[in-house]
Assembly symmetry: D2
Homo-oligomer: 314 residues x 4
């Protein structure tokens, strides 16, 4: 198994099969990927207002990739284990931008009201990297890094790096974090993996639209599950299985995530659809990953301990 | 402080100010309330199919109440502490009913497809009441009781006990559980409190629409916060504050819950709206209580430990 | 057939079966009903801003009714023919109110942005009542009166007069106009009819939330279709049949309206559901009545001329 | 002005700037474009069930294009006048496909219910091309052709030809018909125009998802409005101006269409936003183009006669 470092010489802003691979990796390789923040490092201080520093920028959310994974073919599933995430600078930013965010009108929910005022928040890494502190707020919160964007190239289409979908993408789901494995459907030879948008922390919903945006170096290991096809992104942690649905309105994302989770329980855990539907009713989890992106991402989950039969049946 | 038992001689199916109070209680009284299950105990075995046993029934979700709380006046807030919930029988039911549930079309999302097949699940209380076991599934899950319906009478209207709203109602939010205090706006003299629909366990979303439906005796204590007015139901646990938004589509429930939580942080915790919006972005919680009722209920939350300033500001 | 005039001595603000009938009428009677405008005549000039004149008012959209229709029983359908609408004053108002309207955030879609500025528009009746003219706009539009609110009392519940639903209510659908017959399901003895909220004109969607609000005297004739039960309001014009669905999100209202229209075509016009689904795909109508009320109302329609078979089948 | 015929030697299934132009045209040229039907002519008889004939097909909705329009630059607006549409065969098909259509669950609104049964409808062109007749239905309806898909290449992305959006696309809006001019924003040099998916007739909503699908030859004339930038597709008929919003949920499409129409009235007709908002409230139109595609398309409109001031202001 090789160790491979992917330092991008330029970023991409679409998930597409028409881009030149930035690297080629084998299954099991230790791959270290450098990613820029969602605003391409243009916001560094409280006065770097989004309108000022981003108005000349055509695209946001720069992606490192595509990375070609040897052996991946359409119809397979790509399994990506996140071994670790290190920050590559000592602060994260968050911001309120005009006509953006979960409690603002925006181009997808346009209204006639004036925008909210812009504001920039600078969260400094403190306590030897264990926490972030924002001085204006005078509040400290734990560091909990994850990758906001995690994708493969879709089939034929080239999709904006701001969008989540069946290919993964800009899901902004905090469970895409170290210790977990993310499963994505493969649509193209080599899978063509992209990542970016590291968050130092994020609440469920990513309310204002900018979490703790930070640059990072992530350690990933890729594997390919041959001949296994999935419909939506899946996540496995040591104690849970989870599925992501990305759609609008939000109830469609909830339906999508739960239908995919039922399919998983049926295919791999010996459930009928009815048994799975019943069990999720009683012990399933369902949280909002983001309520700010072009599609909302919801995560349906179940703890693995409930997927085992007791053996008490007469 | 008196001890008062409310054993209903009949149930109500609307939250309304026009109903005769079943009991009058004082603030601080220990009130023990008996509640029937959501199907009024008509489903007791695997062959009690909903269509058969509920087709002659006009209304579902029987409520115990109204309970008149002395001293509550319009514009106040009712604080209800849940001291405990005891089951009053040894099993809970769940069921798949035709054209009902989060992964089925229903009268509010009507489609032309045939209904899902009916099914009844009987979950027996085992392990000295610590768990439920369903034999067909051969699966055991922990007992985690809460009250699915928790309401005051609205202003002027009489609302079906199947509906959640600003008055509380059929929220199906698992945090309405022992150890927590629920805050509801008061619209009428005496607040006129209703409860019912105890669940022995429920996943986030209440996917098939019937959680572990069970009869119960709940221990509640009522208090009135004079002159304080809230817009949506609020919940306080030892370590979190939470707000419930009930609406369709689901994103409107998410907006409602988060706006209410920001108002709470501004009014009681010394935040500006911008500070609250930013903090929730990084550490807020947002889960789906139900995705099956007449309105979806979402819960926005934040841990109290994050609501304190560090005192590090220069 | 008698002639009956209903001049209310007070208004109601809920559709409810617990209210005393204001009048009792027989089928076929000529009933003339006086209605106030949606703001109870409190807005009469450009400076009667909603916040100022409505802030002391607890309820909006005053209703005349209930009117008891002899012979109507639960399970029947009430058919109401609108013979004519006369205005009872010489102007209508429209207004922008804070946090209200289709292009503003509101309590059901709450956001953090400031409200739009208030504004009042006074439309004078001109051209012998054939048109309305607004001087600030310097624009004249034709008079096209209809009744925004048209309801029966629901079953058990008491619903705000601001809400539309299966019982009719505040649908704000321009086809509730002279020349048409509106069908409503009967839930209570006497049907218990309510109306109000006359509009001198209204675009599809009722965009800002206040159409041409005006007082009126309407001529209605009631009939009862015994033993026929419908699920949603229906409208018949000389050349079309139409169904109203009221729901959020808007696609659920569209599904509801079309499903009801298919049921109608199957029950009364000899179609299978598949034939009806196909025909509506090619020639159905689907417009937005309101996008501002507590539920959106959409109208699905088909021209009667398409409901006849050609007789060309071999 | 030249006459140019575009007979595609192969179709495209994405709107993309990376495809080789099929033709280059000048402003004012008479361009005649041949298009296949949405199922690429695979459904020709009642037994060509979608699952059977489309299961081996990877992409649907074949597009003719891109067509490079000389002089169009990013930031301009492309104005396309539809001079005429001729059918190139004597029948249209419609069909019910599994998990597709406005009254069925589908991959974007997934549920657990079984699919609706498949069915194919063959509508023969009769009465010298003035009408379509379906023998099983024994119903005849008028021929009213329009182009379901009408697009320019978006910026950077490559979007499935099944999707509508700001670039136009698969809007399925019946007003994209002969006699009208359609305005689209230009994102790339040459605009890169695509069209396809001719419908011989379609109701509002395109309920089952397949309108009268037919092959056609359309006569278009392109013009470029230099330096004028629009946000959503616009349509001009002899007596109306209209804007299309494509989004989910449907209310967001309604907001988008109306906001764009207000911008148009402000920019070109001398209205303030408040005047436009008020006028649309009273006389605006708002219908559903499609309720079946990846985004719903709604059309907001106003008659030109209302856009003129009376000159009566004192």
């Amino acid at each position: 198994m090789a160790t491979i470092e992917v330092r991008p010489d330029g970023y991409n802003y679409v998930f597409s099969s028409h881009l030149e691979p930035k690297a080629r990796v084998k299954q099991g390789d230790d791959v270290f990927i450098y990613t820029d923040d969602a605003a391409e490092s243009r916001i560094q201080s409280k006065t770097d207002y989004p309108k000022k520093v981003l108005s000349t920028v055509k695209f946001l959310n720069p992606q490192t990739g595509p990375i070609y994974v040897e052996g991946a073919e359409p119809g397979d599933t790509l399994a990506v284990s996140i071994k670790g995430i290190e920050y590559t600078r000592d602060f994260a930013f968050s911001a309120f931008a005009e006509f953006f965010g979960g409690l603002s009108s925006d181009p997808l929910t346009p209204l006639l009201q004036d925008p909210l005022p812009e504001h920039v928040w600078i969260w400094k890494l403190v306590d030897d990297g264990a926490a972030f502190y924002e001085e204006e707020l005078d509040i400290k919160i734990p560091s909990r890094p994850f990758l906001g964007t995690f994708a493969v190239a879709p089939d034929l289409e080239a999709i904006s790096s701001l969008a989540p979908g069946p290919f993964g993408g800009n899901m902004d789901v905090p469970d895409v974090r170290p210790g977990n494995t993310i499963y994505l459907p493969v649509f193209n030879p080599g899978a063509l993996f992209f990542t970016g948008d590291c968050h130092g922390s994020q609440g469920q919903g990513e309310l204002c639209g900018f979490a703790l945006e930070i640059t990072a170096k992530s350690h990933l290991v890729f594997n390919v599950i041959k001949g296994k096809s999935i419909d939506q992104p899946r996540i496995e942690s040591p104690d849970k299985i989870m599925c992501v649905g990305s759609a609008r309105p939000m109830e469609d994302a909830a339906r999508m995530a739960n239908c995919e989770l039922i399919k998983w329980m049926v295919a791999d855990y010996g459930f009928t659809w009815g048994e799975a539907y019943e069990l999720l009713t009683q012990v399933g989890g369902l949280y909002v990953g983001n309520m700010v992106d072009t599609f909302y991402s919801l995560v349906a989950s179940v703890e693995k301990k409930y997927l085992k039969r007791c053996g008490l049946k007469k």
